[in-house]
């Protein structure tokens, strides 16, 4: 989704300096470091029916994936998955609304804007487990029952809101105020301007922030663990399984959840690409 500038094509006769190979090797090592551990999980999730949780692979099967859907120990996984999706959707919605509003507000200096900004930064560096712990204690203090859609939601928002705010700053930074002035000049009311000009132009960035908030929530463990009540999210459920059982089913779950994450990200990127292509795009028949 990068809007690349004019990139100079390399002349094939031009010899690459040795630094190119050195840096390429470094980059390769970095990618291996990033994806290597997960790759092990993905491979092992296709372990044969008689295999264990370590190499070597004993055959190749999808047994462990089927295991997830069977009633029994794994029964909670699909339920937890849908719970996580529901929670992530709510978190994503709230984050986007608040972040867009804050992004609009922060474009002009107002009394206390600096303090508010640093408070948001500070909440990002707060130790996550303690944030959850604090919320849990607070709920106990008021004698409220911790639950997925109250205390866990709040705990996740302490993480996604500042993130969404910063991402939205980046989105608004590239926004040219002249569009809004043009809308005003043409007689649009403040609401029409927001609805017809500001939001549509910012839409690709806003969708990006939404996706970020969704995946942050979907993956969240540390903040939710102490405040989720008795209904687990998917990461909590998986962690419980890791400590109670060891079978390649765990790997299969890992592979599936990663696939879901990538599907969400890929789908969103594709959507944004299409939106941008439509704007830059090829001529359409009249």
């Amino acid at each position: 989704m990068m809007v690349g500038g004019a990139r100079r094509a390399r002349d094939p006769r031009e010899k690459r300096p040795w630094t190119f190979y050195a840096l390429a090797t470094l980059m390769g090592a970095f990618l291996l470091f990033l994806y290597g551990p997960m790759a092990v999980i993905y491979i092992l999730s296709f372990q044969g029916p008689d295999g264990g949780v370590t190499f070597p692979m004993v055959g190749f099967s999808t047994t462990w994936f089927e295991e997830i859907w069977k009633p029994g120990q794994m029964a909670n996984i699909p339920v937890a998955f849908w719970r996580s999706v529901a929670l992530a959707s709510i978190v994503c919605g709230i984050t986007v609304v608040v972040a867009v509003a804050a992004g609009l507000g922060f474009r002009r200096r107002f009394p206390g804007s600096g303090v508010l900004f640093y408070l948001a930064v500070a909440s990002l560096v707060m130790p996550s487990l303690l944030v959850g712990f604090g919320i849990g204690l607070g709920f106990r203090l008021f004698d409220w029952k911790p639950d997925l859609f109250t205390s866990a939601l709040a705990a996740q928002l302490t993480w996604t809101l500042p993130f969404g705010l910063f991402a939205m700053f980046a989105v608004f930074n590239r926004f040219n105020r002249a569009y809004e002035e043009a809308a005003t000049d043409l007689g649009a009311s403040a609401f029409q301007r927001l609805r017809w000009v500001t939001l549509p132009i910012l839409a690709p960035g806003i969708i990006g922030v939404a996706m970020g908030a969704f995946t942050l929530s979907y993956d969240e463990y540390a903040r939710s663990t102490l405040v989720a009540g008795n209904r687990n999210t998917l990461p909590l459920e998986i962690y419980a399984l890791i400590s109670s059982s060891t079978s390649p089913t765990l790997f299969a779950i890992g592979t599936l959840t990663t696939a879901v994450s990538f599907l969400v990200i890929g789908g969103t990127l594709l959507f944004i690409r299409r939106m941008q292509r439509r704007r830059a795009g090829a001529a359409r028949p009249a």
Partner: protein, 340 residues
């Protein structure tokens, strides 16, 4: 009109009365007063930071007026919203909405007023036709060239039927050849529509070619406001003379004088005014040859010679030379009562 009392004909389309713009402690526009006659092409000209854009934006209503008043068609609009002033603005980068087709861009102001789709699209097509863009009405802005975008932006501004059209450096994004053509079109359009255009530019050529009223600004003030010919023949001060170009600003017996470079010649010291120097550069410009002279203590002067005259009697770089002019071609500068 069947008005019983013969009322005074409106003489000015736009009046600025000591209009001032302050940003914090910085004064960007300093008590600017200007009266723009009916249906005229007015150019605000000056170097960057001279306050010309702030002045335009105050007229448009995109910048609040710190002090003073702005009148459009004899109505005080100082505190009105941009859309209530009867102005329309064409932005420097055109600011066409990237997610809307040309047609929807032009129809935008009608949509804001609640005009039904079929009607607003029909009207938008009329205005696109006016700027010869009706064939590309379904294109997105990114699919258009700079010149085409400019025309769509023009149509989008004109569809609001403004009393005054404001143009912020409308030609700066175009290549030089296109610039001349679009310039002609702008002037033609202004004459056809019979409304006032206020055009901000830093190019003196552009201002000279277009303006009925040329307003030269510097440091938030108007240095001179007059017809281009008046400005060129009688620049009010040394800033104006230097900024519009084509003039030598020299020390005369009674202070600074301006002499047009094309009225200067090489010659011999005699009764006529003259100044001695050395030729620093010879530039062949086609119809003319420009001689750059170093005179006095490092000051520069230039002579524009018709090519025939130069080649009849060529000179070389580094030669000693004397620049001469006729007394009647020199114009005194910085006199207390120089301006109108």
């Amino acid at each position: 009109m069947d008005h019983p009392v013969p009322h005074l004909e409106r003489r000015f389309d736009v009046e600025l009365v000591a209009a001032t713009k302050r940003y914090g402690g910085v004064v960007a526009v300093d008590r600017v007063s200007l009266r723009i006659p009916r249906a005229s092409y007015c150019c605000l000209l000056g170097p960057s930071g001279c306050g010309k854009t702030s002045t335009l934006r105050m007229i448009a209503g995109h910048e609040t007026v710190s002090d003073g008043d702005i009148l459009i068609h004899d109505e005080n609009v100082t505190d009105l919203a941009p859309a209530e002033r009867g102005t329309a603005m064409m932005f420097q980068s055109y600011a066409l909405f990237p997610h809307l087709s040309c047609l929807d861009n032009v129809a935008f102001s009608l949509k804001a007023r609640g005009v039904p789709k079929a009607q607003r699209h029909a009207k938008a097509m009329e205005y696109l036709a006016l700027v010869h863009m009706d064939r590309l009405s379904h294109r997105m802005p990114a699919e258009l060239s700079g010149g085409q975008q400019q025309r769509v932006a023009l149509a989008r501004a004109l569809i609001t039927e403004p009393r005054v059209l404001l143009l912020d450096e409308p030609l700066s994004a175009l290549d030089p050849f296109l610039r001349t053509r679009v310039r002609e079109e702008l002037k033609r359009l202004q004459r056809e529509l019979g409304i006032t255009f206020i055009h901000v530019t830093h190019s003196q050529d552009e201002a000279m070619a277009l303006a009925d009223l040329m307003v030269v600004m510097d440091e938030g003030r108007i240095r001179q406001a007059a017809a281009p010919r008046e400005v060129f023949e009688r620049p009010a001060d040394s800033f104006v003379a230097k900024f519009i170009g084509g003039h030598n600003v020299l020390n005369g017996p009674d202070g600074l004088i301006a002499v047009r470079a094309d009225r200067c010649r090489l010659g011999a010291p005699g009764d006529q005014p003259h100044i001695a120097g050395r030729i620093a550069a010879v530039e062949y410009l086609g119809t003319t040859v420009r001689l750059a002279l170093t005179v006095g203590d490092g000051e520069g002067a230039s002579i524009l010679l018709p090519d025939e005259l130069f080649f009849a009697n060529p000179v070389q770089m580094g030669e000693e030379a004397v620049m001469v002019w006729r007394e009647q071609d020199s114009h005194p500068l910085d006199l207390p009562a120089a301006a109108e």
